[in-house]
């Protein structure tokens, strides 16, 4: 499975990178960690004329934490996220999800930007972006823009990015202390793509009822989803056995997965409910430090 031939460029500035991407009539592709793109080339599912390697763009490697939230540069690797102790409190949900990404070796090279641009429906980062209402900053030949996560993912391996656009960073809104969260994933084997995963978080009002509930589902559709039906069941309620059960049912009822070689549609539908249930239980019982 040798790759088809391509040209290779390794620009040192972002504007150079954009110019290169724009130059090949849509036939150029950005290369970040390569953990998703290179296998596509090996299977000859993609045959770009030019690969634009982003590895020299140091400004894309930063993790910035501020009152604004967490800003992950596009070239931030999973490993960088797991090694950053600040994120234990600045965004524990992100960390929990990233710990599930693929395998040890992949986490040393795979990047945030690469995962978002690749848009695999069963990948963790797109799911976190959608669940947390992230904003993705991109730059292209016509300038920069910010795309909301809810509008970024168009389908399996399809995004809102134009051929000349590069992701610069993704901003996850600030994470308040006291927020409750849970992340549950089930895969065939450790490190495989999720058969289904759920990311949940909520805040509590003065009486302890849940508000601002966010429930995200991974792996059950052609893109990550917010499960508004499940959220509606929980907002303004105490999170207990009863409401969790209702949320599980609402989650299952609101998705429409397909049969595939790994699982039946019925199974996935039930599984996402179970993932939501278990994520909520984890959120509820979490030790708040």
């Amino acid at each position: 499975m040798k790759m088809p031939p391509f040209e290779y460029a390794c620009p040192t500035t972002l504007s150079e990178a954009v110019a290169l991407l724009a130059s090949h009539d849509g036939e150029a592709k950005a290369l970040a960690g390569g953990q998703s793109l290179v296998p596509m080339l090996a299977f000859r599912l993609a045959q770009p004329a030019l690969l634009v390697d982003l590895r020299k763009l140091a400004e894309l490697r930063e993790i910035k934490i501020s009152a604004d939230g967490v800003r992950l540069g596009a070239m931030v690797r999973w490993r960088d996220i797991l090694d950053d102790r600040r994120l234990d409190t600045a965004h524990p949900l992100l960390k929990a999800a990233v710990a599930e990404v693929a395998h040890y070796q992949i986490r040393n090279r795979g990047t945030v930007g690469g995962s978002l641009a690749h848009a695999d429906p069963a990948a963790e980062m797109p799911g976190i972006a959608v669940t947390c209402e992230a904003e993705i900053s991109v730059v292209g030949k016509s300038g920069s823009r910010v795309i909301r996560a809810a509008e970024f993912f168009h389908g399996p391996l399809m995004t809102a990015l134009a051929a000349d656009e590069i992701i610069v960073d993704v901003r996850l809104p600030a994470w308040p202390p006291g927020r409750r969260w849970g992340f549950q994933e089930f895969a065939r084997r450790r490190g495989d793509f999720a058969l289904a995963a759920a990311a949940v978080f909520y805040d509590e009002d003065a009486s302890g009822k849940a508000r601002n509930v966010h429930v995200g589902a991974i792996g059950v559709a052609d893109r990550p989803l917010r499960l508004h039906a499940a959220e509606a069941v929980l907002n303004g309620q105490f999170i207990d056995e009863d409401t969790i059960g209702k949320a599980e049912a609402a989650a299952s009822a609101s998705v429409n997965p397909q049969d595939d070689i790994h699982a039946s549609a019925a199974y996935r539908r039930a599984l996402v409910g179970t993932m939501v249930e278990r994520a909520l239980k984890a959120a509820r019982s979490r030790e708040m430090g």
Binding site: E7, H103, I106, N108
Partner: protein, 165 residues
């Protein structure tokens, strides 16, 4: 394209097509055939090498991306004819049969133990879950890695620290 990097402590320069993977470059241009190729799509881990201190799948790296990097392959894990403590542990525990996955297991385990000499069995299994083996069933490999932890801990550490199973 001309690429310059360091392999097992030596500076090398190769002239390769951009599409050549680091795995193929190591094996065929530099004749370091210890790194193996089992799938070419980043799943099996037989191609694992150490790049700037991190275990990576060399079939998912372009050789041209190795410019300026420090690469260590299985050939660089031992000095001369003497097996490294990790290699000795593998032998002692019969942690290899056909030997094909072994270089990838060794490079991965070497990085893990270098960074986490107190890792436990669960962590070892989690890390090695990215390296497929069809012969051993993994149990002896995990035992070999756990047994080698002592060799990676600083020598001046207090003894009597119980080894986590």
């Amino acid at each position: 394209m001309s690429v310059r990097f360091e392999v097992n402590g030596k500076q090398v320069e190769v002239d390769v097509e951009p599409r050549m993977t680091l795995a193929d470059c190591l094996r065929h241009e530099l004749r370091l055939t210890g790194t193996h190729v089992g799938c070419e799509h980043g799943v099996c881990g037989t191609c694992t090498v150490i790049a700037d201190g991190a275990a990576v799948r060399s079939c998912l790296m372009l050789a041209v991306q190795a410019e300026g990097s420090r690469i260590v392959t299985v050939e660089g894990l031992s000095d001369g004819e003497e097996l490294s403590p990790l290699q000795k542990s593998f032998r002692r525990h019969h942690a290899l049969q056909c030997g094909f996955c072994t270089p990838g297991m060794l490079t991965t385990a070497h990085v893990l133990l270098s960074e986490e000499p107190d890792c436990d069995a669960t962590r070892v299994r989690e890390v090695l879950s990215g390296n497929l083996c069809r012969c051993t069933g993994y149990i002896s490999i995990v035992e070999a890695v756990l047994d080698a932890r002592a060799d990676y801990r600083p020598k001046d550490r207090a003894t009597g620290v119980a080894d986590k199973p």
